[in-house]
Structure formats: C-alpha cells, structure tokens
C-alpha cells in the first residue's frame, strides 16, 4: 500500500474522528494524487462539502473551502458542469457566501487553464452563476465583503462558458456606478485573455476572447447614469 493509498483510506473511512478527517481534507489540497487516486477521493470531497458547507465552525469552513478547491480543480473538464450542485441553495435561501466565492473562483480558474475543443455547454452551471451575478451586480452589494469578488468571478465564468446569460450580465454591468468594480473586472478579463492566448490556438478561444474583450472595453464606456468616478474623491 502506497503512502497515498493509506492517506486516502484514512480520509474515506467513516471511523476517523471529524477533527482528524477535517485535517486530512485540508492536507489533501496540497497533495499530489494520480488520476486513479483522485477519482477515489473525489466523492469523499463532494460528500464533505455537502455535509459541512452550512457549518458555522470556522475550521469546518476552512476545510469545506479546501475540499471545493481540490474537487473542482481535479474534475475532468467534461464533468465541470456537474459542479452546479455546489451552488444550489439546498434547504437555505442561498448557499453560504464562502461556498459561492470558492466555486465561482475555481470555475474561472478551471476554464482559464482548460479550453474544450468544439462546443462546450454547461447550462445548469451557467444558470447558477447568472443567479449570483444577477443578485450581486448592484452598487449597494458590490462593496460588501466577498460580494464583489463573487460577482466578478461569476461574470468571468459566464464569459468563459460562453453562456447565453452573458449579454444580459454585460448590460447590468453597464448600468453600475461602481467604476472601481468595472475597472478591476476589466483588468482581470485582460489577464485571462493574455493567459489563454498564450496556451491555446486562436480559433479554439475565439468565443471566450470575444466575450472577455467586451468586458475589457467596459471602462471606456460611460456609465448610463453619467455619474462621475467617485475614485477622484480622496478619503
């Protein structure tokens, strides 16, 4: 039995005390596994997220975030659409905000590092990301902790998924007065464009590039309200 086999056996065992299992989950994020090993481990990561994502315990939240990152990072691209379940509200009115942030960030990272050949569709995942973007793209909410980062990643995720929701999202962004958010979103879009264009041939990323270009151009478009940039006002 290899060192990893032993580790996975302990992680997947129902006998292991919760605190220990939680520590193993966090350790697993930094551990290299073979594809076969991670296929064994992934259901345990998923079950851990489902079971503890609503926990108020800070250590549980840390382990859930870690499990989400490892789970999404190791999902084969054709299984990424299944990550939509992580954004379902379950018995609550919405998923915990920390879960939304980790999933949205990881979807963007995954779709930046991996570009499918041909048509790639993930309608359910796009629907969940759009629900988030549609809710948080509000000047009142964006400046609240984590809300801006979640909205930013949800928009970038929709752009990379080439979702039908993207156009509506873009329209909502143009009506925002939060120029700081638009500027940072445009910066991230340019960074992702540079990253994917250095890794993938142009025809394969044409759709993503077209969407990201529209985001990158947003700071040049005057806001609908014509409100001056609050950034010019010193504290």
């Amino acid at each position: 039995m290899s060192e990893n086999d032993d580790f996975i056996a302990r992680l997947c065992s129902a006998e292991v005390p919760h605190s220990q299992r939680r520590r193993h989950i966090i350790e697993a994020e930094a551990t290299q596994f073979t594809e076969e090993e991670i296929a064994t481990l992934r259901p345990t990561l998923r079950d851990f997220v489902v079971e503890f994502r609503d926990s108020a315990d800070r250590m549980d939240q840390t382990a859930v975030a870690s499990a989400i990152r490892k789970y999404v990072a190791t999902l084969p691209l054709d299984e990424l659409p299944s990550a939509a379940f992580l954004l379902e509200a379950g018995e609550r009115s919405s998923p915990p905000i920390g879960v939304e942030l980790e999933v949205a960030k990881m979807v963007v990272r995954k779709l930046t590092a991996n570009v499918a050949e041909g048509q790639y569709r993930a309608p359910e995942l796009a629907d969940r990301l759009f629900e988030i973007a549609d809710t948080y793209l509000s000047d009142r909410l964006l400046s609240r902790e984590k809300h801006g980062a979640i909205a930013l990643n949800a928009v970038l995720g929709l752009a990379l998924l080439q979702s039908d929701h993207f156009a509506e999202c873009l329209h909502e962004i143009q009506s925002l007065r939060s120029r700081w958010f638009i500027d940072h979103l445009a910066l991230r879009a340019r960074e992702i464009m540079a990253e994917i264009s250095s890794q993938f041939p142009e025809p394969r990323i044409a759709g993503q590039f077209a969407n990201l270009s529209q985001i990158a151009a947003l700071p040049n478009i005057p806001s609908h309200e014509g409100v001056p940039n609050a950034g010019s006002t010193a504290r």
Partner: protein, 89 residues
C-alpha cells in the same frame, strides 16, 4: 508615502495602512508586513493591531500583531474598494 518607526509619538492608522514588525535581533530589517484591517486612533508601539497579512497572498485573519513600523498613503474610496476586492479574490 509617509513612513515611520513607531515610538516617538502616536499616529492615527487608517484602514489599509501598512504595519510591519521587525525581524528578531535586527532593528533595521522588517520581517513581516500587513495592511491594517481597520482604522486605529492614537496608535503606538506595543499595541496590537488586526492585520490583513501578506502571506502571500493577502489574507484576512484574526492574528493581531504588535508592529514597530507604519506607512500610509492617501487612498480614495474606490481604491479601498479595489483593495478589498483584490483580497477577496
């Protein structure tokens, strides 16, 4: 960017001002810095401050430290929002 070694007189620390601690045994080498998580009035050496730590990345966390150095920059509200966004991202 105004910067100072704390000690002679208290300073008013703004949110996202930089606070640093010295390396052990070396007064001219700063071992660790972070951004102040909140404004603190009349702050001086020996007091603890809650930081957004430069790990990297910048990480929010309840690990207060007692800094010896301080630096400040006049940030706009938008710049503060962008820093918040960058940290959460």
């Amino acid at each position: 960017m105004p910067a100072a070694r704390l000690g002679s007189s208290p300073v008013d620390v703004e949110r996202f001002d930089i606070l640093g601690i010295d390396a052990a045994g070396g007064a001219n080498f700063i071992a660790h810095v972070g951004l102040s998580a909140k404004p603190i009035s009349q702050f001086n050496v020996g007091a603890a401050a809650e930081l957004i730590h430069m790990q990297p990345p910048l990480t929010r966390g309840p690990s207060p430290i007692a800094p010896e150095t301080w630096a400040t920059a006049s940030l706009t509200i938008d710049e503060e929002h962008r820093i918040d966004l960058f940290i959460d991202e």
